[in-house]
C-alpha cells in the first residue's frame, strides 16, 4: 500500500488520502473460494487494515464471517461484510437460495449477491427468472445494504441480456451484478447495453476483468458505484499516485 509518509506536503497527503478512501469505498475487496483457509483470510484482512480505509464491502465466505467480524472489531473504519449465494452458476433451487439468504441475514451479513438460475437464463425461461428474482427481492431487498442479482452477461446474447433485465425490472430488482468474476469478466459494452435499454433503472455492479485504474474510472463515468475487482488495493494505489501527480505531491 502507498506510504503517505513519503509525501512532503502533509496537506496534499491528507487530501489525497481522503479521496483514495472515497475511491476504495466504491470497490469490493476480499477473498473467496473453496480452499481458502483462515490464515489466507487473516492475511488479506491484515493487508486491508494497513490501508486504514474501508472497501464498499469485504467479500468472504459464510463460515469465515464470525472470524472476519472479530478481525475488524478494532479497525478504524466500519467494514461491511459481503457473501455470495449460489455462486457462481446459480444452480441451487430457489428454496435453497432463500434458506441461505435467511441465514446470512440472521448472522448479520450486510451485503449479498445471488446468482440467478443460469440454466433458466440460457433456456430463455424469463418468467422463471422473474419469479425467482421477485421472491428474493420481496423477502430480502430491504434487509441488506444491497441484494445484487448476478447475470452471466458475457455468455449471453444482447437479446438474452435485455430479456433477463426486463424480467428483473418486472420483479422490482434494484441491483444487477454483471458477471460473477471467476473468469467471466464484464465489458463496457455490456454495461452500456443495459444502461441504454433501461436508463436510470438499475444499480449496475460490474464484476471481473477489471484490472486497471482506467477501467474503474470508466465504469464510474458510466454511473457504476459498486465495483468488483480483485485488484482493488493495487488500483487504489494507482489512484493515489495519479492524484499526487495532479496535485504536485510527487
Amino acid at each position: 500500500m502507498f506510504d503517505f509518509s513519503t509525501v512532503q506536503d502533509k496537506e496534499t497527503a491528507a487530501k489525497v488520502f481522503e479521496e483514495a478512501k472515497e475511491f476504495l469505498s466504491l470497490c469490493h475487496f476480499g477473498l473467496q473460494g473453496i480452499t481458502r483457509t483462515e490464515d489466507d483470510v487473516r492475511k488479506v484482512v491484515g493487508k486491508l487494515k494497513e490501508t486504514k480505509m474501508a472497501p464498499l464491502a469485504f467479500d468472504t465466505e459464510m463460515q469465515f464471517v464470525p472470524m472476519v467480524r472479530e478481525l475488524f472489531s478494532d479497525y478504524c473504519c466500519k467494514v461491511r461484510l459481503h457473501c455470495a449465494v449460489s455462486y457462481p452458476m446459480g444452480r441451487l433451487l430457489p428454496a435453497s437460495k432463500m434458506h441461505a439468504l435467511d441465514r446470512l441475514r440472521a448472522i448479520g451479513v450486510d451485503d449479498v449477491c445471488v446468482c440467478l438460475d443460469w440454466q433458466a437464463v440460457f433456456s430463455g425461461r424469463y418468467k422463471d427468472i422473474e419469479n425467482e428474482a421477485r421472491q428474493i427481492v420481496e423477502e430480502f431487498q430491504d434487509d441488506f445494504y444491497r441484494v445484487a442479482l448476478v447475470i452471466p452477461a458475457t455468455l449471453m446474447s444482447d437479446t438474452q441480456i435485455i430479456e433477463t433485465c426486463r424480467a428483473l425490472d418486472a420483479a422490482g430488482t434494484v441491483s444487477v451484478k454483471v458477471n460473477p468474476g471467476a473468469t467471466l469478466g464484464v465489458s463496457f459494452e455490456e454495461v452500456a447495453l443495459i444502461r441504454r435499454n433501461f436508463p436510470n433503472r438499475f444499480d449496475i455492479h460490474p464484476s471481473g476483468n477489471i484490472r486497471t485504474l482506467s477501467d474503474v474510472l470508466r465504469y464510474r463515468e458510466m454511473g457504476c458505484n459498486n465495483i468488483h475487482t480483485a485488484a482493488a488495493l493495487e488500483i487504489t494505489d494507482d489512484f493515489i499516485v495519479k492524484k499526487l501527480k495532479e496535485y504536485g505531491g510527487i
Binding site: 473467496q32 465466505e61 457462481p88 440454466q119
Partner: protein
C-alpha cells in the same frame, strides 16, 4: 468401475444441453449423470431410461454451513424424486484450517438427511496426508459413501487432482469408502491410469474428447 457423465463444472448449461447430457450418457453406456439441482426438472424426463441421476450440493465452493447443505438435500428431495445419490462439496478450506468438527457435522447431517448414498467432493491435491487420513476416517464414521478427488472446476486456482490423489485416498479408504476420480480427462490412457490407481468411479465432463457425441 462406474462411469458418471457430468456438466456441473460447465458455465453454459441450458435445458437442451442438460437433455443432451442424458442422451450422451445413454450413447456412451455411462451409469449415471451428475447434474446441479436446477437441472432436476430436465432429468425427470429421463426417469426409467437406465441412467441414474446424481445431484450436486453446494457446488463448487462448498462454503455453506453444514445444516444448509443438509437443507439443500431436503429441498432437492421436496422438489423432485429424481436424485439417486448426492455429491456434496465439502468446506475444504475451513477443514484445512483445523475445523475437523465442521467436516464431521456436514458429513453427519448430509448423510443422515436422506436414505440415499452421499458422496463428498474435495480438493485432495491441496491436502496433506494427515488431512486425507482424517477426512476418510470421519467419512467412514459418518456413513458417507465415498470421496471425490476434486471439484474439477477450472476457474479455481488450485492444484489439480490426478491419479496420484486416487492412490492417496485409496490408502485411507480401507475398502469402505468409494473413491471417485474427477478431473480433466483428455485421453483413455488418463482414465486407465485413474482406474489402475484404484478409482471406483470416474466422473467425466461431457465436453471431454473421449465422450462420444
Amino acid at each position: 468401475m462406474t462411469t458418471i457423465l457430468t456438466n456441473i463444472p460447465n458455465y453454459y448449461v441450458s435445458d437442451e444441453n442438460c437433455e443432451n447430457l442424458y442422451y450422451k450418457a445413454i450413447a456412451n453406456q455411462a451409469d449415471a449423470v451428475l447434474i446441479g439441482p436446477s437441472s432436476m426438472k430436465t432429468g425427470e424426463k429421463f426417469r426409467g431410461r437406465g441412467v441414474k441421476t446424481c445431484v450436486s450440493i453446494s457446488y463448487p465452493a462448498g462454503t455453506a454451513s453444514p445444516d444448509l447443505k443438509a437443507q439443500e438435500i431436503l429441498d432437492c428431495e421436496d422438489s423432485s424424486g429424481i436424485a439417486d445419490m448426492y455429491f456434496v462439496t465439502a468446506a475444504a478450506g475451513y477443514f484445512m484450517s483445523g475445523h475437523e468438527e465442521n467436516l464431521r457435522e456436514e458429513m453427519r447431517l448430509c448423510a443422515g438427511s436422506v436414505r440415499k448414498p452421499v458422496y463428498f467432493i474435495t480438493e485432495a491435491a491441496e491436502m496433506t496426508e494427515e488431512d486425507l487420513e482424517k477426512m476418510c476416517r470421519i467419512a467412514c464414521e459418518e456413513k458417507v459413501r465415498g470421496i471425490v478427488t476434486s471439484t474439477a472446476f477450472l476457474p479455481y486456482d488450485v492444484k489439480r487432482a490426478t491419479a496420484a490423489e486416487v492412490s492417496r485416498l485409496k490408502r485411507y479408504a480401507h475398502d469402505v469408502l468409494k473413491v471417485a476420480a474427477f478431473g480433466q480427462f483428455h485421453t483413455l490412457d488418463e482414465v486407465e491410469e485413474a482406474e489402475n490407481a484404484g478409482a471406483d468411479i470416474i466422473i467425466l465432463n461431457e465436453s471431454c474428447e473421449i465422450v462420444k457425441v
